[in-house]
Amino acid sequence: MTKEKSKKPVASGHEKSSPQKLSLHVPEPKTRPGDKPDFSYVRISPVGETPRPALDVSAIEIRDLAFGMVRVLDDQGEAQGPWAVELEEDVLRKGLRAMMRTRAFDKRMQRAQRQGKTSFYMQATGEEAISVAQQMVLRKGDMSFPTYRQQGLLFAQDFPILEMMNQIYSNEKDALRGRQLPVLYSFKKAGHFTISGNLATQYIQAVGWAMGSAIKGDDKIACGWIGDGSTAENDFHSALVFAGVYRAPVILNITNNQWAISSFQGIAGGEATVFAARGVGYGVPALRVDGNDFLAVYAVSEWAAERARRNLGPTLIEWITYRAAAHSTSDDPSKYRPKDDWEHWPLGDPIERLKQHMIKRGMWSDEQHVQAEAEYDEEMRVAAEEAESYGTLQALEHRPSPAEMFENVFEEMPPHLRRQRQEMGV
């Protein structure tokens, strides 16, 4: 390509300004307590618009998709467009059940915390589709590196809720021996990595784990998880660098639920761009997806998992969703956002949307739904009762022995730890 010679070069300094007072820009959410919710800032593509690329696509080729939004379910509950996959009835039933049980579990544990039975709890309300649907495309041996808000990964596997509750209560049956804060699970048998209380640290570990699988010629893939706020952490960067450089078989998930405690996603960098757009700068193909659309989550997760399994490398996915509940039991969102925000969230409730789709397809009904809800509530009540019988924070006499503190610091206890344990008198 040649260009005609520009006739007269532009004179230097033609745009030079005289000194001007600078000022600091501090992003601010559109609405604060008392305001009418306003989600006009969310870039939403029409259902079906964002294309489905070939599996072996490069980051550069699909760089514009980061600004689109993969959506499958339309407002009427119909599946539309290139990402619409005809899922078997039992897959949908399983997905709906897992999402509903996640929510019922959250409700029960939130209440347990309020009753002083545990120190802390974190709900995933409104975000259930993402972890549930992604888990459903994974295979045995794959490893997820979740944050504290991916309990859906466990419900999608019908993981024993008693084991989760025992951890939350730090009771005598807690597999983690009362060491970890509630919800910071570790369930290796479920492909669920030990959750860190430090944000973002595990994103690069997921990449390293996936590199390990590739180094060994294994066929396992890894999934990293991070929140919108936590993308600002440095480990986000190192994860993307390593994933891009070594083409690690990993799915890198960003759950953009619009909030990081009291900070809206603009404080993490979501004001002038979208998080998915980071992929291309690291050579990692990236998509932006309606995270409250179970079918879209399933389809894109499957696509990304396939890329990883065929040694085509990493995929970055920004899931757009909304943190409907408080950040944690220590948080009161009415202090920093409109009380009724969630009801106005334009992408709806993932459970309601899947329910609508299933009703549409004749697989489900409102009555069944109500009945299922009641059933799961009851299941959680009963399980909690049993878990509580093994101890809670109000019944410390049931807790794991203090001597456990010294176990598993190392594989073999060194002399100084033995001495300290003796000092403690246990």
Binding site: V26, S119, G178, L181, L199, E233, I267, K335, Y336, F406
Partner: protein, 334 residues
């Protein structure tokens, strides 16, 4: 005033006096911080002087260093000390050495505040005491108050200090003095003498210890929450302990320490951090060196154990008045 209010007040006083003082941190702007230590500052001083930061501890400190070298006096918050490690490089390799390596051309007057310590069922990532990884760093000052009055005075002194200060806030005593008796109700600071905080500007000099209790039988070197635990231990055992509240760990008030140990001839070091290579080690090294001939018994350390901070077994880990009391008895018998 609670310690939270005292810290907020120190910010307020300094932001009013010096428009170069700026404050930021995760959730520290609009909301005022998860412990509410910066509440109201954005509303009062504007978004450009008190604002929310991305969740990037190293970015927060790195940006603060840039601002400090520009000429501001940033006072930034790390949400929990357990999350300061990503910022460690910026603190150690940069903030602490900019003055020295530029021979004073560039300086870094900056405060990095963070809540430390356990006792709130926060598990291993909301309970750590990180002082020792900073006291080994040349070019830093390290401060830890034990009550609202000192908290305000020390924070003001830290903000005015021409060099970087690590300001550690024992979160267990944010709302009231806590002596380790978790089974008892918390007494608020308003009921405590050290909760009577002067209004307006005052400084508590960095590098000066306070004597929290005078005594003759044994010296207790401690800081933060453990001052209150040590006081309780003295009261409960009846041992006439001299309790030194170090307040500033770096630079250390070696004079006050030596004077006390030379008087009592016995020394116990109490801190919540894990023992090995904790700041207590440095205290032991100094005391044995400078008070060797006065010492009648080996210095005892009462500390957290060399394990991660537990969740449910918190009270077995937390150095209790009982443990301190036993050390007192042991050292008096030695």
């Amino acid at each position: 005033m609670s310690m939270i209010e005292a810290i907020r007040d120190a910010h307020d006083v300094m932001m009013a006096r010096d428009e170069n003082v700026v404050v930021f941190g995760e959730d520290a702007g609009y909301f005022g911080g998860v412990f509410r230590c910066t509440e109201g500052l954005q509303q009062k001083y504007g978004k450009h002087r008190a604002f929310d930061a991305p969740i990037s501890e190293s970015g927060i400190v790195g940006a603060a260093i840039g601002m400090a070298t520009y000429g501001l006096r940033p006072c930034v918050e790390i949400q929990f000390a357990d999350y300061v490690y990503p910022a460690y490089d910026q603190i150690v390799s940069e903030a602490a050495r900019i003055r020295h390596r530029s021979n004073g051309e560039f300086t870094c007057p900056m405060v990095v505040r963070m809540p430390v310590g356990g006792g709130i069922f926060g598990g291993q990532t909301h309970s750590q005491s990180v002082e020792a990884i900073f006291t080994h760093v040349v070019g830093l000052k390290v401060v830890m108050p034990s009550n609202p009055r000192d908290a305000k005075g020390l924070l003001i002194a830290s903000i005015e200090d021409p060099d970087p200060v690590i300001f550690l806030e024992p979160k267990r005593i944010y709302n009231g003095p806590f002596d380790g008796h978790h089974e008892r109700p918390v007494v608020p600071w308003s009921k405590h003498e050290d909760g009577q905080v002067k209004t307006g500007y005052y400084k508590t000099e960095l590098g000066k210890a306070a004597i929290a209790r005078e005594g003759r039988e044994v010296t207790i070197l401690t800081y933060g929450t453990m001052v209150h635990v040590a006081l309780a231990a003295a009261e409960e055992t009846g041992v006439d302990a001299e309790i030194i509240d170090l307040r500033t760990l770096l630079p250390l008030d070696q004079e006050a320490i030596e004077a006390s140990v030379n008087k009592t001839g016995r020394c116990i070091v109490v801190h919540e951090a894990t023992r090995t290579s904790g700041f207590g080690a440095e205290l032991c090294a100094l005391v044995q060196r400078h008070c060797f001939y006065a010492l009648e018994a080996p210095i005892i350390r009462v500390t957290g154990y060399d394990t991660p901070y537990p969740h449910v077994n918190e009270w077995d880990y937390f150095p209790s008045p009982e443990r301190v009391g036993e050390a007192m008895k042991q050292i008096l018998e030695a």
